[in-house]
């Protein structure tokens, strides 16, 4: 899946990647690779601005540490982020169920007998 197809869902996907605990930018990307079996093809550089946006929105917090002589920024979910993720999940399940029902309803494809 390409980045443009994910538009509108990137925030939820990033929040979900942070659900397991604090992660730095690249670890978020690795988590997404693993959870989607490599099918999510996002340009790595686009993840970082999105993380900053979520931080500004108060859904995640960032903190610096030093690893191997390099400064590293790690992010974790805030309480608001946990609530937002829960809401986005519920919305997605509803949306997904509706679209799946519409797309897979074979009755729609049969010609009307009348």
């Amino acid at each position: 899946m390409r980045a443009e197809e994910l538009k509108g869902h990137l925030d939820a996907v990033l929040l979900a990647a942070l659900e397991g605990g604090p992660r730095h930018g690249y670890a978020v990307i690795e988590a997404l690779r693993q959870s989607t079996a490599g099918r999510l093809d996002l340009p790595t550089g686009t993840i970082y601005p999105a993380l900053r946006r979520l931080e500004q929105a108060g859904l995640i917090t960032g903190s610096w540490s030093v690893v191997g002589g390099r400064r590293r920024r790690e992010y974790q979910l805030t309480a608001a982020g946990v609530r937002a993720l829960s809401g986005r999940r519920a919305d997605w399940r509803d949306f997904s169920a509706i679209v799946t029902a519409a797309l897979e309803d074979r009755a729609c494809m049969r010609p009307n007998p009348a």
Binding site: G25, I29, T44, G45, T46, Y48, Q56, R72, R73
Partner: protein
């Protein structure tokens, strides 16, 4: 890190460093180093791993554009431009109902020019492509609008013959909007 891949990654980071703040570049440098290590673990030669890491990160212009879009000063400027006409209408109503006709012409011209300058700065922040341009013009525009608000509030308090609820509403709206915009604009 191998010298050849270091040159490729370093030059990539230099392009970003010319346009983005140091803290963002540090974060990207860490991510790029991790991406490079990922490709080394996949068995690629150091130079090829560096090329793959840079390719995976994407075009520097796209990264800069992404950070520019989420620049707090740019977003504050956009918010101010969006809600500004409503606050301006409140002020117009306050000045008309308060009969503040006594303001000398030079002061009116000065205020008008200051307002146009602030709107120009905010527009440059909201529409400009560069991160630093957006940050500087956004902060300058938000500070300018706050100063203009203070001048208007002080001036109207002394100039109007009677303070009506419209004047109070205009002052409250003005303070609330600029304070809300100024805080994130100054955040780093």
């Amino acid at each position: 890190m191998h010298a050849s891949e270091s040159r490729l990654i370093s030059s990539y980071l230099e392009v970003l460093a010319a346009q983005l703040p140091a803290s963002i570049v540090e974060e990207l440098a860490d991510g790029l180093a991790e991406t490079h290590r990922f490709y080394l673990r996949q068995g690629l030669a150091p130079e090829r791993a560096a090329e793959s890491a840079v390719a995976e990160f994407g075009e520097p212009e796209a990264i800069v554009a992404g950070f520019t879009r989420v620049n707090p000063a740019r977003r504050a400027a956009s918010r101010l431009l969006g809600i500004g006409p409503a606050v301006g209408a409140c002020w117009a109503a306050a000045l008309i109902t308060g009969r503040a006709w006594g303001v000398p012409l030079p002061a009116r011209i000065l205020l008008g020019l200051a307002l146009i300058t602030c709107i120009g700065l905010l527009a440059a922040a909201a529409l400009g492509r560069g991160y630093r341009l957006a940050a500087r013009t956004g902060v300058a525009g938000c500070i300018g609008m706050t100063a203009l608000d203070l001048v208007l509030i002080t001036g109207v308090t002394f100039a109007v013959t009677s303070v009506t609820w419209v004047t109070v509403a205009a002052m409250a709206a003005s303070i609330a909007v600029t304070a809300r915009a100024l805080r994130p604009a100054l955040a780093r």
